[in-house]
């Protein structure tokens, strides 16, 4: 029986199965559709910032759409209270686009004809120097599933070199083992971002037909591995466009709630990656496109359930929309991003993972943040390693 209530010590696979949130559940679709204005008003009257599934159902429902301005204002107030008038900045550094997976939406799909590049540690450091020169102190290392080359030894060496210039290093790479994550943590990595892509099993199978990533359950269990390895920052997300965003949001919240209870010293953040045109996938029609209003509803609904979660927005989104979203709940943005390996030193050489939509320089984004009445924060944590 599907239930929204009750905590247990089950793993996330069991929790999602029990709640009926790992599939395109008719139960939840119906409940979301049956939600009325009264439910939304009750959800909004509850103290902002605390999660329960019933409340989130109301906030992501179509019935909440007329309350979007009210949700955005509450989200802004809460974000201001918890994070202050600040926006954190980071930049991604792509290491490799050689991939053993075949995710249909991705420019790095092993089956697509692409300009393949992997950076040596020296080349990666040279890219990082350009990023550091722009003022960044928080760097996100991104790589395709290039396990032979971008392995623990490679990453540990690179992170060791980067720690001089960057106060915080995170990774968004293929799934590793717990021991590998522990190795990364020891090398100085503070956070791992790993999207489930979609929590819907059937959709997951369809978009990830082959390669190590094809195993839904293994991917779902991976955040436990890096959280238990000590990572401070746990980045979660679903690719928006693959399945119904309302159901994805519920599953994402359950996953987050589970991780927060179990790994209580780590902070969960959410990203909102709307699928973008990518090399060789232009013809792909995503079945569940997420509009701007829906994106705002998702961001504010999650904020109203998770007061202290980092909400991250990349340059996938356009400048105008980003200018608005930093005022209603987003706490961290990238700027000046290049999404191909070597992209900072050489314009448009290797294939990008996706096309970016906000091509402003870091300085321009910094000015935008100031104009929005917030302080751009380049450094938010530096692990003390000696002393």
């Amino acid at each position: 029986m599907i239930s929204a209530r009750g905590h247990n010590d089950s793993d996330i696979k069991t929790i999602l199965a029990k709640r009926g949130l790992d599939g395109n559940s008719a139960f939840w679709t119906e409940r979301i559709e049956q939600t009325g204005a009264g439910d939304v008003e009750r959800a909004l009257a509850q103290p902002a910032g605390r999660y329960n599934l019933d409340r989130l159902v109301a906030l992501v429902s179509p019935a909440a759409e007329p309350y979007l301005e009210q949700m955005a204002q509450a989200s802004r107030r809460l974000t201001l209270q918890r994070f202050g008038r600040t926006i954190r900045l980071y930049a991604p550094l792509y290491l490799s686009n050689i991939c053993s997976n075949s995710c249909l939406y991705c420019g790095f799909n092993k089956n697509s004809r692409s300009q393949r590049v992997r950076l040596s540690v020296e080349q990666a450091v040279a890219e990082a120097d350009i990023i550091a020169a722009d003022g960044f102190r928080d760097i996100l290392l991104v790589s395709s599933e290039d396990r032979q080359y971008v392995n623990l030894d490679y990453l540990a060496e690179l992170v060791g070199a980067l720690r001089e210039k960057f106060s915080s290093v995170s990774v968004e790479i293929y799934q590793m083992t717990q021991a590998e994550y522990a190795g990364l943590f020891a090398a100085g990595v503070d956070g791992v971002t790993l999207y489930q892509e979609t929590y819907d099993r059937a959709t997951y199978r369809r978009y990830h037909p082959a390669g190590p990533k094809a195993d839904y359950d293994r991917r779902l269990a991976t955040p436990d591995l890096f959280a238990s390895a000590g990572m401070r920052q746990l980045g979660l997300g679903a690719l928006l466009g693959l399945a119904d965003w309302r159901l994805e949001t519920l599953a994402l919240a359950e996953h987050s709630d589970y991780l927060m209870r179990r790994y209580w010293k780590s902070q969960v953040s959410f990203s909102f990656p709307r699928l973008r045109p990518a090399h060789n996938v232009d013809g792909l029609q995503f079945e569940h496109p997420v509009g701007d209003a829906e994106l705002v509803q998702m961001i504010t609904a999650l904020r109203l359930c998770f007061a202290d979660a980092g909400l991250v927005l990349s340059t996938r989104e356009g400048a105008e929309l980003r200018d608005h979203l930093v005022k209603i709940g987003i706490t961290k943005v990238s700027a000046g991003s290049k999404t191909s390996p070597g992209g900072y030193s050489h314009e448009a050489n290797a294939t990008e993972q996706f096309q970016i939509d906000d091509d402003r320089t870091p300085r321009q984004v910094e000015e935008m943040i100031k104009a929005a009445g917030a302080e751009p924060v380049w450094k938010d944590w530096e692990r003390p390693t000696a002393g």
Binding site: L80, Q81, R82, F83, G84, R85, T86, R232, M260, W264, K265, S266, Q267, A307, D308, K370, G373, A374, E375, V377, K379, D380, W381, E382, R383, P384, T385, A386, G387
Partner: protein, 256 residues
């Protein structure tokens, strides 16, 4: 002259101000000025303590304000001790607000790790001002370990809920031999005045000033409230009662 004395140093102001969450270093500097504060806290996680050009540090006049660096973000004693030692290796910092907050959501202080770190840091020669839950026994243990103050929370940090831990803070004030600085959760000047009326030696405010619509004016409001609360405390407040007590119906006969 009614001065606040911490670790042998005198201060005219009993309002300590945090420097996080402001829209810009310029607004922060103006708010500090308006608050009359003489002690300001800075998070080591945010600044480059050895860089004079750091935006935040450059906006704080070190001749005017005592810089109280904090270890926010430290998840255990080891991290806090390392942060403190690294800061001191780079500068002449010796005043330290010790924060060990393993839970990134409510940022509640870990009592076990805080005591452990205090014992190490006091031996290292730091002047330690520990952020703690409102726990009277922990306060005494920290005092025994040699802290310069205790800083119990009024309610979870940044929550603006006011003094939710009143009865425990009353005990801490009653028992403490070091200054009691009420920290965290003070959302309004009236909350700060309430803490001072209770006999707190000082208060620390950040979010309520930094995220107000007019931070500089709010800083001034907190300044006045702290002064009013302190004056009231020193003036021996009249006892509050439920009714007027005009006559003595039961014992009046004794005076007849």
């Amino acid at each position: 002259m009614d001065e606040l004395v911490i670790a042998g140093r005198s201060f005219g102001s009993r309002l300590l101000v945090g420097t996080g969450k402001f829209a810009s270093p310029a607004v922060m500097a103006e708010a500090l000025e308006a608050s009359g504060a003489e002690i300001v806290t800075v998070a080591l996680r945010r600044v480059d303590i050895d860089n004079e050009n750091d935006d935040t540090l450059a906006a704080i006049d070190r001749d005017k304000y005592l810089l109280l660096v904090n270890t926010s973000g430290a998840r255990d004693a080891e991290e806090a001790v390392r942060l403190a030692r690294l800061a001191r290796a780079a500068t002449d910092i010796e005043w330290l607000k010790l924060e060990v907050t393993p839970d990134p959501y409510y940022l509640l202080p870990d009592p076990v790790e805080t005591l452990k770190a205090t014992e190490i840091l006091v031996k290292d020669g730091f002047i330690v001002l520990p952020y703690i839950n409102a726990d009277p026994i922990l306060s005494k243990r920290l005092e025994d370990a040699g802290t310069a103050t205790v800083m119990p929370l009024a309610s979870p940090i940044g929550s603006n809920q006011g003094i939710k831990t009143r009865s425990a803070i009353e005990i801490i004030i009653e028992q403490s031999q070091v200054p009691v600085v009420v920290d965290a959760g003070l959302g309004l000047p009236s909350h700060a005045a309430e803490a001072m009326e209770m006999g707190a030696d000082a208060v620390l405010v950040n979010t309520a000033i930094a995220t107000a619509a007019a931070p500089v004016a709010m800083a001034g409001a907190f300044k006045s409230a702290v002064e009013a609360g302190r004056t009231a405390y020193l003036s021996g407040p009249a006892a509050a009662g439920r009714q007027a007590s005009a006559s003595s119906p039961l014992t009046g006969f004794l005076r007849d």
